[in-house]
C-alpha cells in the first residue's frame, strides 16, 4: 500500500470510530478534502458525477428542487455519513442537491479510493448500509405522514 493510501486508511479508521483528526491526517484532508461554508452548494441536482462524499465535520442538507418554490430539505447528514452513493451505483444524474447547513469539511472520493474503503474497512460497509436504511425509514415516515394513497 502506498503511503498516501495508508494515511487515507487512517482517516477512514478514525472517522469510523469517531476519533478526532490529528495533525498528520489533516495533511491528507488537504489532498482529498474540501471545506464548504454554510449555505454553499456541494452537489447540484441533475449533474452527472461518480464522486462520493464523506462528511468529516459539520452538517449538510439534501435538498430537492433547490432554488424553486418547490424546494424541500429531505435529510440532514452529519459526521461520518456518506452521500453521492446513489449516482455512483445507478450511474444516473444526481437525484438531489446537497448544501452545507453549517461550515463543513467533506472528503471527496473517486471510485478507486471508494473501492479501497471496501477492501480495508468492512465496518464502513455496515455504516453506509445503516445510513441508507435510516434514510429509507425517514422516507417511509414521510409517506405515512402524507397518507395519500398511491396504489
Amino acid at each position: 500500500m502506498k503511503e498516501s493510501d495508508e494515511q487515507l486508511d487512517e482517516i477512514l479508521y478514525n472517522l469510523a470510530f469517531g476519533d478526532d483528526l490529528i495533525a498528520r491526517e489533516k495533511e491528507i484532508f488537504s489532498r482529498l478534502g474540501k471545506q464548504y461554508s454554510s449555505g454553499e452548494l456541494v452537489v447540484k441536482e441533475g449533474d452527472v458525477s461518480d464522486q462520493l462524499f464523506l462528511v468529516v465535520s459539520g452538517s449538510l442538507k439534501i435538498v430537492k428542487d433547490i432554488g424553486t418554490e418547490d424546494e424541500k430539505a429531505i435529510a440532514l447528514l452529519t459526521d461520518g455519513e456518506m452521500f453521492g452513493e446513489m449516482s455512483y451505483f445507478d450511474n444516473l444524474p444526481r437525484s438531489a442537491s446537497v448544501v452545507a447547513a453549517t461550515d463543513s469539511e467533506v472528503l471527496v472520493l473517486d471510485r478507486e479510493q471508494f473501492d479501497m474503503i471496501f477492501q480495508l474497512h468492512p465496518k464502513w460497509t455496515t455504516k453506509i448500509i445503516q445510513s441508507l436504511s435510516n434514510r429509507i425509514y425517514l422516507a417511509y415516515l414521510d409517506l405515512r405522514n402524507s397518507a395519500e394513497i398511491l396504489y
Binding site: F89, A96, T125, I129, I136, L143, S146, L150, Y151
Partner: protein
Amino acid sequence: MRYLIRGEEKKYQKGTVIFQENLPVSNAICYLVEGLVSGSIEQDGNILYKENIKKDNLIGITSNFVNRKKHLETVIALTDVKLYVWDKEQFINVVGIYQELAKLVISNLSRQLRNLNKILAKKETNNRDS
C-alpha cells in the same frame, strides 16, 4: 454466488408472507436466489408503497438496520421462491468480506431510496396542485 455462505437456504411457496409489517423483526436478511416477491408498506389497510423484487436482490435489510424492533415492510412471495438467509451478524461478516455483495446491497438500498424520493416528490406535487 460465492458470497452465499454462513447462512442457510429456505424455500417458500407462492403467497407466503415472508415478513409482516409491524410484527417483531425476524433477524433475517435474505438474498433472493429464485422467484419474485413484493415489498409494501401499508397504513389503515391502504398500500402507501409497493415494489416487486426480483431474483439476485435482497430483502430484510432496512428492518434489521434501523433501530426498531418491528418489520417496516410486508414481503410476500409472488411465486415459489428460494432464499438464502443470514442473521444480521452473519450478514455483516459476509458483506465485509465480499465487495460485490456490499455493492449489490448498497445499490439495492440506493435504488429503493431513489424510488421513495420520486414518490414523495410526486405526492407533494399532487398535494400542491389539488
